[in-house]
């Protein structure tokens, strides 16, 4: 009885990782210069913010919720920090903690609304999205460039690695966030409670688990992750603009789903999410190497993969249910 369950838990993850490596190998066969450590590392450099925010989204999806405000929060963080740094001449040492605090607060309020007022996560975070995007425009409707030396340094500095390769600081941040999330989800009471809520909220409540606190904390954590992603994004873009990161929430959800976390919650790994992001990265890189295809093919390819994965998950689920009913 236990074996098929374990199989299901790891099956999606295995398929995702296998798909990533086969796509990467296909690229290596087709294009010269594709098979290098630097191309692999570039996927991390270009998608560091997506990794950070997708990790937060993984938590939210595991408890069976959804958060569509993250793209807007990232834009708000970029815009607000650009404004504080450039117009008000604040120090980055003050701006970064402030942004993280704002992100946490944003998530906390959304969590409270969702849990205590029993409002739909979709609607609450939709309002949050409008609010964050609107606040961006209130600050400025133009692009604000960041010229702060620290941000410039963070954007351009490359940490050298062996074999003449390099990564940026954003990658270090993303890896640290991943490691932390991996630990929290797998080895703490909080993580296990999150899985329990996603599995069945009613049962979790009857078991005496702190459902309300955990749910609110998960949304707070997600807000914090998206603020951090916003900071990483501002290192990457070096500007604040109201239309930054439009639709990023859907990219994040797609990464998490491709990574094997169903939107019904209860199951999921951050490792899968990482590979979900990397698959998007490898598709982007493939299209870049191909040269003639336009960038919108990325969207179509990702949607196609999303479709395949969702149907696959559904089939596995159906098989599992079928087995249960036979037993």
């Amino acid at each position: 009885m236990k074996v098929p369950q374990l199989n299901y838990k790891y099956m999606n993850l295995t398929i995702t990782i296998a798909l990533f490596f086969s796509l990467f190998l296909a690229g290596a066969v087709w294009y010269k210069g594709f098979f290098s450590l630097q191309v692999f590392l570039n996927m991390f450099i270009d998608n560091a913010f997506l990794i950070v925010t997708s990790v937060g989204m993984t938590f939210v999806l595991i408890i069976g919720g959804i958060d569509i405000s993250i793209g807007a929060v990232i834009a708000l963080v970029c815009m607000f920090s650009a404004n504080l740094l450039e117009v008000r001449q604040w120090s980055p040492a003050l701006v970064i903690p402030l942004m993280l605090a704002i992100g946490c607060l944003f998530g906390l309020v959304q969590g409270v609304f969702i849990h205590y007022f029993k409002m739909q996560p979709f609607i609450v975070t939709l309002a949050g999205m409008f609010l964050a995007r609107g606040l961006c425009y209130v600050i400025s409707i133009d692009t604000v460039l960041i010229t702060d030396p620290f941000y410039q340094w963070m954007a351009t500095y490359r940490i050298p690695l062996p074999f003449h390769t390099f990564i940026s600081f954003s990658v270090v941040i993303a890896v640290v966030v991943l490691a932390l999330a991996f630990y929290i989800l797998g080895y703490t009471r909080f993580g296990r409670t999150a899985y329990a809520i996603g599995g069945n909220e009613q049962s979790a409540l009857l078991m005496g688990l702190p459902v309300g606190r955990t749910k609110v904390l998960v949304y707070t954590l997600n807000g914090c992750c998206s603020a951090l992603a916003g900071i990483v994004f501002s290192f990457y873009m070096l500007s604040g603009y109201g239309l930054h990161a439009v639709g990023l929430e859907m990219d994040a959800i797609a990464s998490v789903v491709i990574g094997g976390t169903p939107l019904t919650g209860g199951i999921g790994f951050v490792t899968g999410t990482l590979f979900g992001v990397l698959i998007q990265g490898v598709i982007q890189t493939l299209i870049m190497f191909q040269g003639t295809l336009s960038s919108w093919w990325t969207k179509i390819a990702i949607a196609f993969l999303l479709c395949v994965f969702i149907i696959l998950q559904r089939l596995i689920m159906a098989r599992k249910e079928g087995r249960k009913s036979i037993a």
């Binding site: 959804i66 609304f113 205590y116 007022f117 029993k118 409002m119 739909q120 979709f122 609607i123 609450v124 939709l126 309002a127 949050g128 999205m129 409008f130 609010l131 995007r133 609107g134 606040l135 425009y137 209130v138 409707i141 109201g242 439009v246 859907m250 959800i253 797609a254 789903v257 169903p262 939107l263 019904t264 336009s294 919108w296 093919w297 990325t298 969207k299 179509i300 990702i302 949607a303 196609f304 999303l306 479709c307 969702i310 149907i311 559904r314 159906a318």
Partner: protein, 359 residues
Amino acid sequence: MEIWIKLWRIVTNSRLFWPLAALAVVLLFNFFYTKDFFVVEIKDGHFYGVLIDIVNRAAPLMLLAIGMTLVVATKGIDISVGSVIAISGAVAASLIGGNLEYVDGTQKLVTLVPMPVAIVAALAVTTLLGMWNGLLVARVGIQPIVATLILLVAGRGIAQLITQGQIITIYYTPFKFIGAGYLAGVPFTLFIVLLVFAVILYLLNKTALGLFIEAIGINSVASRFSGIHVSKYIFLAYAFSGFCAGVAGLIICSNVSSADGNNAGLFMELDAILAVALGGNSLDGGKFSLLGSVIGALVIQSITTSIYATGVPPEITLVVKAIVVICICLMQSTSFRTIIFARWGQKRGSVSESTTVKL
């Protein structure tokens, strides 16, 4: 006194009370703060005025909200409508094309295909896309939000593919009539909305369709056991939502005389869901009110228009929208009302006790 309290209860418990109250608040605000808000004049044989403008501009949203209501009633959600709008416009624009050519010394517009064919093609494509969503949800059994997420992500890419990544401008003037024309002095868009609304209302009320959809939303398993062909009706709801998005896409495309794969209908899916929620419909499915959703769409457009009219910088629209959404959702949230009114009730505890004694 008792009668008034009872009447108040009946009124506030009515499904349409909260959406109408929201609309009334927005209009009342305009009554005091916006000059000439309620003035409707006749110029060049057309009705002019802010109110007419609101109705005209809300037309695409009303259509989306009508389609979305049925989907939401079946306990689903369709987040792909914004992308479908872009595809609809892209199909229509690329088929109509419309080049200025000189024939016998006079300017003449040449379309690639006749306009009705282009319109039918656009609507057929969007209905097919709706059916694709319906297929994924009803047959394959995927969660609605995930199933429609696929089209949301892919849709803009497809629209870009159709328009070759460019913004197609339509010079063919008859097409402009759909989104900007007037019939009997009233915007033509209003007739489109009324037609769709009337047809679907007739089908819902005169056949068992409405009852079936409600039943599916309340308990799909029980509905299946009582002999309702659940997957068929869910499929139809998504197909209809795709059709509505197609019509809305045509209106938007015709109104601006161009098709923009990137920006046409951007975030419209969120506005549509919002309209449904503001209309007093539970996003958990079940009982629904089409009229409520239409009112919800009007509330959203009234807020937007009054922000423009009061001279507040338009950038603030989103912030105001967010605050209004939060307030209205809080009012509709039963647990919020219990928390607030429980406090209130405690303070007036003695009063309510005396009334119970009387009874």
